[in-house]
Structures are given as C-alpha cells and as structure tokens.
C-alpha cells in the first residue's frame, strides 16, 4: 500500500482494539442479534465465505442463510428488492461488493429509495455498505469514491467513518435509522488500522462531525481515510496549529461544526480522496464561502483526486491521490498567507 494508515489511537488509547473491519462486523452481528428484522444481502455474503472482504463471515452460520442472503449479480434488482423489504419494515444491509458497483443499482437508490418517503410516506430503512477508496493498486473499478453522487441526491443519508469506533457506532445508527443510508467503508483502512471500540451497544449519531485535532491556525475538513493523512500532515508541520474536523456524515452535513471551525481558524483546507471536481469538498467550501465569508483570512484550498479515472499503476495512482506532502504544503501556504 502506498500510504501508512497507522492510526495513532492504536498506541494512544487503552482497552479493546479492533480493526476497522472487525468493528463493522461487530456492529452487524450485534444488530442482527438485537433485531430480527435486520438482514444482510448481496453477492457472496453468505455461507462460510462471508463476502469479498469477509465482513459477513460467520453470520450465515449464526443467523441462517435467509438472513444472510446470497444474491445473483443483479445490483439494480437486489437493491430494488431491499426497497420492498424495507417498506415492509425489514432492515436490509445491502453489501455492494465494491463501492464502484453501486452505479449498477443507481435507479433503485436515487429514484426509488431516495424519494419514496417524501412522495407518499414509504420509509426505506436500509443500509448499503459500500467498500470504497483506493491507494491499494486496484485500478479504476475497485477504487472509486462515489459519495458526491449521493450527497447531491435529496432523500439519502451518506456516512463515511474514519476510525473503528466510529465505524461501529455510525453503522449501528445507520441500521436503526428509518431512512436509506449509504455507508462508505474506506477499504484501505479495513485491516490497516486498529482502534479502541466499545464492547457493547455503541451509537454515534448521524449528522455529527468530530473535531479530532485542535489547533488555531488552519482547519482541515475531511473524512474517511484522508483523516489519517491529515493527521500525519499536521504532525509533519508542527509549527502550524492544525484543527482537523472529521465530517463522519456527509449527508446531512454538520454545517454548524463546519462553520464553527472555519470561523475559528479563518483558514480552511477541504480534503478528500474522491476526485476534487464537483466533489463533496465543493459543497463544504461553497458553504463556508457563503456563511463564514467575513471570517475568512485566506482562500479555501481544496485537495482531492485528479479529474481522471483512478489509475492502477503506482506512480499514476500516487499522483492521482492526495498525499501527506500535498496537505503539508497547503498547510504551510495557508499558515503563511
């Protein structure tokens, strides 16, 4: 892997350590145990196999094949099927084998699920789990970060955790939420980071950002795997006081937290791995430029992927992807502004 996602928390905090992947698996198992209406469906999720990333391994044995349902290759159809299940009060957790394939289910998500409650009161309490993000040499179709399509679509909720604890807490909240929630898992974090995760029921409210580092000079607003790069960049530029806001939920955005941080430092970097152009960072920057204009002491710098498909070869993918150096440079530029 081109990036070190080593998460300081591993050293720092105490207690029970799980990987990002283990935390997700734990949330699913605990919710399936708690609520018989929760089920899992998707390609290869069932049996002993337990999915391409093994997130659902062991669930079939524990909860039965019907609640851990293998589907054919039919994203549009099985996501539409989840819509119907959800209308009847079930809480399907749909696994996209890779986030890249969520585009195959597009109508079932953006046209039906996103609008049913607004139009006629049909609630759709499902969660789509989408293993997203790159940096691990998987090429254009196994590295995508498609969250912006869904953040732009009214009626959806979009979540993107950066730590094991948040992954468990946000997924638990997403499963209990009565709306369609798309849960973007940063697959480069699956096994590369560990963190302290509360053992029992653990809920992190949707729609609440977290300030994961305090600082007075520059704010970095980011989410997912990039939170860890931001941390490393902040460590690297020790003389700059860096506040880091982990959005955690991308829709609805925690506009208050965003604006508060922007007002506090007056200098803002918006960072994500998805391509920069018309990405979620554009909304964050535009929000600040409109609502916190008087507080700005410098341009709002956006850092994100290039406006190309995600290339496969290491030199190209490294050039495509934001790096610690890119972030550090932006921090210096703004600090000196």
């Amino acid at each position: 892997m081109s990036e070190n996602f080593g998460f300081s928390d591993v050293e720092a905090s105490s207690g029970r350590f799980l990987t990002y992947l283990e935390a997700i698996a734990e949330a699913i198992a605990q919710e399936m145990k708690r609520d018989p209406d929760v089920l899992v469906l998707g390609e290869d999720v069932g049996g002993d196999f337990g999915g391409a990333f093994k997130v659902t391994r062991g669930l079939a044995e524990r909860f039965g094949d019907e609640r851990v349902l293998n589907t054919p290759i039919a994203e549009l159809g099985f996501t539409g099927m989840a819509n119907g299940m959800a209308l009847m009060g079930l809480r399907p957790i749909v696994e996209m084998q890779f986030a890249d394939f969520i585009s195959s289910a597009f109508d079932s998500i953006v046209q039906f699920a996103a609008t049913a409650h607004y139009r006629w009161g049909g609630a759709i309490p499902w969660v789509i789990r989408a293993p997203s993000d790159g940096g691990i040499r998987s090429g254009p179709f196994h590295s995508q970060n498609p969250e912006a399509w869904f953040v732009h679509t009214p009626g959806l909720k979009v979540v993107a955790p950066s730590t094991p604890a948040d992954a468990k807490g946000l997924l638990t909240s997403a499963i209990r939420d009565d709306n369609p929630v798309i849960f973007f898992e940063a697959k480069p974090l699956y096994r590369s980071i560990r963190g302290h995760v509360p053992e029992g029921e653990h809920l992190v409210a949707l729609g609440e950002a977290a300030t994961v580092r305090e600082g007075d000079d520059v704010t970095i607003i980011t989410y997912g795997s990039m939170v860890h790069l931001a941390m490393q960049a902040a460590d690297a530029v020790a003389d700059v006081g860096v506040k880091i806001v982990d959005l955690r939920t991308l829709k609805p955005l925690d506009t208050e937290a965003i604006l508060e941080a922007a007002r506090a430092t007056g200098k803002v970097i918006v960072l994500h791995a998805a391509n920069r152009n018309a990405g979620v960072g554009a909304e964050v920057a535009a929000l600040i430029a409109e609502e916190a204009f008087e507080f700005l002491d410098g341009p709002i710098i956006r850092i994100g992927g290039a406006d190309t498909p995600v290339p496969f070869s290491p030199p190209l993918e490294d050039a495509y992807r934001p790096s610690v150096a890119d972030i550090a440079d932006a921090l210096k530029t703004l600090a000196a502004y």
Binding site: G77, M81, N83, G84, D107, R119, W120, G121
Partner: protein, 321 residues
C-alpha cells in the same frame, strides 16, 4: 381463492364501471383544461386492474402501475383522493408531491406507490414478497408490467430472483400492443410472453385481458399458488391501450382498424352484456350501477377541486422519515 360467484361478478362490474367513469371524466376534464400536468387513460384495462385487485386478499400487497386505476379503487383508495393527487391537492396520497397516479401509495391499503422509472415496481414488489416469505406470513405481493417494461433489465433480474427464491410474487404482463408510440414488433422479435418466462422456470398463463372472469380466475390461481408456497407466477393479459399513451397523445400511430377490432371487445361493455344476457342483472339494475358510478365520480371531482393546494411552507416536510 374466492369463487367467482355472480355476486362477485356484479361487484366486479361495479368496480369496472367506476373505473371507466373515472377515466372518462378525467379525460374530459383534461381536454377542457381543468387538469394539471399530464394524465394517463387506462381505457381498455378495466378488467385486468379490477380482477387483479379483487383476486388479492386483504393482507396482500400490490404495486399497481399507471394503467391500473381499477386496482387502486378496489383496494380502497377513494376517487376523491386520486383526483386530489391528479390535481396536486394536499388531500391526495402524495400531498401534491407526485404527479398523476405516480406514487399514490398507502401501506394501510396495501398499496405501493410507483415511480416513473420502468420497471422499478418489479424488484420492489419482489422485496415485499421476500419479506412475507421470511416472516412466514401467508401473504402475496403482486405487480404489473407492460410489454414495454418487459424489455428492461430489471424485469430479468426480478424474474430470475423471484424464481430462485420461490417468492410469493405474482406478475401480470399487460400486453397492450404499444409502449408509447412503439408497437410490439419494434420492441421484441416475438411477443409470446408466457413462453418467454419459461426461461426462468416460472409457470405462466395467457388470458384474454378484456375478459374479467378469465383474468380473475388466472390471477386467483397464481395468488393461491404463491400463498401456498408454490412460488411466483406470471399472468400474461392480452389487451389493448385504447387511447394515447397519455392524454396529450393522439396516437395517430395506431391503425384505426386495430382500435375498432378491440373496441368491439370493450371489457366493460362485454361484462355488462354478459350480466344482462345471463339474466343476472336487469337493464334497470345495470343502469343503476352505471349512474351510481357516475355520481360517485362527480362528487369525487367536486371534493378534489374544492380541496386546498399544499402550503409551500411544507415543501421540505417528509424528505426523511
């Protein structure tokens, strides 16, 4: 299956008459400029939509489409609510949010609101059926698709999964000869739908979609099979879209002879004469049913037209549950 007694047939005729009266009135209103946005006439589909509605049990769930007005009515959605939706009133099932018959769902009535995107109702309805199956409930989910919607990918994905999971799922294919302006022979090389679904190992039957009794029996058999764990069934209903795709559409592309031959098979009149010929109802009794239907629709229109438009302050209500 509830046998098709003469009482049921009379009931069916009453629903078909109400459906036709709704349709005639709607078409007239829209032509007079009393409408809002577009509207779809279902003229010619009364036997299918009413029989489908009547063949279902009270706990079953249905996702009717844009030509299935009769199903909504039979399931208990009142004409004034539907007109309210057509006219964008706050009293319609979508409170002015969705257009014409789109989205007029009401789970209390076991009705799923559809979206334009064809054929989204199929996988949704399969999911409803899967919920029944997983909960071991003796309930059935039914939806319909047109000849046009049949060629769309989600139809294939849904039929394959419905068969794979043996879900209590019933699909009525409304073969009404056109998808908008496109005739069957420009949609697929051959249109023997009942044979096509053999590819999914799903039993099917082709019926005269203008014969209420034939549709009722076929759908009832399918619903019973699904309820008893026998899995999905497809009912292919042979019918004709008698007016344009929507009211703005004059359908000049449809050969007049074709319409005339089907006009002779009008499902409402056919039912009416059967009931008369078999001496089940007198002309007076039939006339009374027709007048009742007409009056119900007139008062429904009055209620809908008098109803308020939604308050703009409610624009963002209900985006989230």
């Amino acid at each position: 299956m509830e046998a098709l007694t003469n009482e049921r047939r009379v009931e069916g005729y009453a629903w078909m008459t109400l459906t036709r009266a709704f349709d005639d009135t709607m078409v007239a209103m829209w032509k007079q400029g009393r409408g809002l946005g577009g509207a779809f006439s279902q003229r010619g589909h009364e036997a299918i939509s009413v029989a489908a509605g009547m063949a279902l049990g009270p706990d079953d769930v249905v996702a009717p489409m844009h030509r299935d007005l009769g199903t909504y009515l039979v399931r208990g959605m009142t004409p004034d609510r539907i007109f309210g939706n057509l006219l964008g009133r706050s009293t319609g099932p979508t409170r002015g949010r969705d257009a014409n018959l789109h989205g007029i769902g009401d789970l209390d009535l076991g009705i799923i609101g559809f979206i334009s995107h064809i054929p989204q109702a199929l996988p949704t309805t399969l999911g409803v059926a899967m919920a029944f199956k997983m909960r071991r409930q003796p309930r059935v989910a039914l939806t319909t698709v047109g000849d046009g919607g049949y060629t769309s990918g989600a139809t294939h994905e849904t039929l394959n999964m419905a068969s794979l999971y043996q879900a209590p799922f019933v699909l009525i294919i409304e073969d009404n000869k056109y998808a908008y302006s496109t005739p069957l022979d420009q949609q697929m090389r051959s249109a023997r739908f009942a044979e096509k679904v053999a590819a999914y190992d799903i039993p099917s039957v082709r019926v005269d979609g203008n014969d209420f009794g034939a549709v009722y029996d076929a759908v009832s058999v399918a619903v019973d099979r699904a309820r008893e764990g026998g899995g999905p069934t497809v009912v292919e209903a042979d019918t004709m879209r008698m007016l344009g795709h929507a009211i703005h559409d004059g359908a000049e592309y449809v050969p007049r002879e074709l319409l005339e031959s089907w006009e002779r098979r009008d499902p409402v009149r056919a039912m009416r004469s059967r009931l008369a010929d078999e001496g089940i109802l007198t002309e007076d009794q039939l006339g009374a049913i027709d007048r009742t239907a007409h009056d119900k629709i007139q008062s429904a229109v009055a209620i809908a037209e008098a109803a308020p438009l939604p308050d703009p302050a409610t624009l963002s209500d209900g985006v989230y549950a």
